[in-house]
């Protein structure tokens, strides 16, 4: 286990969120997973040794409970782009979290949020890039 683990808050514990939470937790980081419903948490494996919080992350009280002001990293991976973008901005601008990442499905919203200094990852663009690469490889 690494000595200097990071404090990471993951908002949205679906397939991607749970995967990240399990992996980061098993790598020795302190992870807090937030989800609207408790039913998402079974996605967390036995390796996950972090905390779970059931709540709506668009309410700052929930983020405060997750001690976002002390977090090194916040990752927003709910299925709702707007929740991710809002939570990411609140973490960055109000809780001063050093590293904030948001998943955004809609590539058209990426540019607007790049302007606000929010780092977004768009699964659509990423997958499209991989497909294009795979096509050109075969030629």
């Amino acid at each position: 286990m690494k000595k200097t683990g990071l404090y990471i808050v993951i908002v949205g514990c679906g397939r991607l969120g749970a995967h990240l939470a399990n992996r980061l937790s098993s790598e020795g980081h302190s992870v807090v997973a937030i989800d609207l419903s408790e039913s998402a948490f079974p996605g967390l494996s036995a390796d996950f040794s972090g905390f779970r919080i059931e709540g709506d992350a668009t309410q700052t009280a929930v983020l405060r409970e997750a001690k976002v002001h002390k977090a090194d990293v916040l990752i927003a991976t709910t299925h709702d782009d707007n929740v991710n973008l809002m939570v990411a901005q609140v973490a960055k601008k109000i809780f001063n979290t050093p590293k904030v990442l948001a998943r955004v499905f809609d590539p058209r919203r990426e540019t607007a949020y790049a302007q606000l200094g929010i780092r977004t990852i768009c699964p659509t663009s990423v997958a499209a890039g991989l497909f294009f690469d795979a096509i050109s490889e075969d030629e």
Binding site: T60, N82, K93, R108, R109, Q115
Partner: protein, 220 residues
């Protein structure tokens, strides 16, 4: 004036009706197809069915030429993103978001979006009205730093029959307008106050209580 309203429900309906009656050009964006169809039948506004936080829908609603956008959906995250997109991508000059969670009103302001919380506004209205029956309207501005209060003078008021220039009001108080028999009057020093006058009073927090006392007398 061109206004885009995003949301649904009675609030949107009545707001839209109010705006169209003033001659504003209104475009409504509503997510639910059934509700959108119903609104388009009831309102003399263009109604689009779609996600207001989708830049294409905003473009279709004519965001580029809009003077204002009001996001009043039940989801705070949507209201924030709608206003940010409208302002960043379309340069809409006035974007106002409803904060359903009153805590978010402050957060939205910190993120650069004008916000209001109906909970806060209605809460303070009810508090003020419950505490003093002569107050008929109260509007806190910039989070309560300035209050605009409408009061009615009754025969118990110590200022009835006096001219404004003779009434001693505390610092930080302004009588904006008088309403007498439904007619607004911009008051001057010589204007006399009468029983039944409605006064629109502008006060700072410190002068609010003393100003009400000066005009209404001891109501305890």
């Amino acid at each position: 004036m061109k206004v885009i309203l995003v949301g649904g429900d009675k609030t949107l309906y009545f707001l839209c009706r109010n705006f169209t009656s003033k001659g504003y050009e209104v475009v409504v964006i509503n997510r639910e197809q059934k509700e959108a169809v119903q609104l388009s039948r009831q309102l003399s506004a263009v109604v689009l069915c779609g996600d207001g936080s989708d830049p294409e829908i905003l473009a279709e609603a004519g965001a580029r030429s809009a003077d204002a956008i009001l996001a009043i959906t039940p989801n705070d995250q949507d209201n924030l993103i709608i206003c940010q997109l409208a302002s960043l991508q379309f340069g809409v000059p006035r974007c106002v978001a409803l904060a359903n969670d009153p805590d978010n009103a402050e957060i939205f302001e910190m993120l650069g979006v004008t916000a209001f919380s109906t909970t806060d506004i209605v809460g303070s209205l009810i508090e003020q009205r419950a505490s003093l029956e002569q107050i008929t309207n109260l509007l806190p501005i910039s989070g309560g730093k300035v209050n605009v209060t409408e009061i009615v003078l009754d025969n118990k008021s110590p200022v009835i029959g006096q001219s404004l220039k003779d009434i001693r009001l505390p610092e930080g108080t302004l009588i904006g307008v008088l309403i007498r028999d439904n007619q607004p009057i911009i008051p001057r020093g010589a204007t006399q106050l009468l029983d039944g006058d409605h006064i629109v009073l502008i006060t700072l927090p410190d002068s609010h209580g003393p100003a009400l006392k000066a005009l209404l007398g001891d109501t305890e």
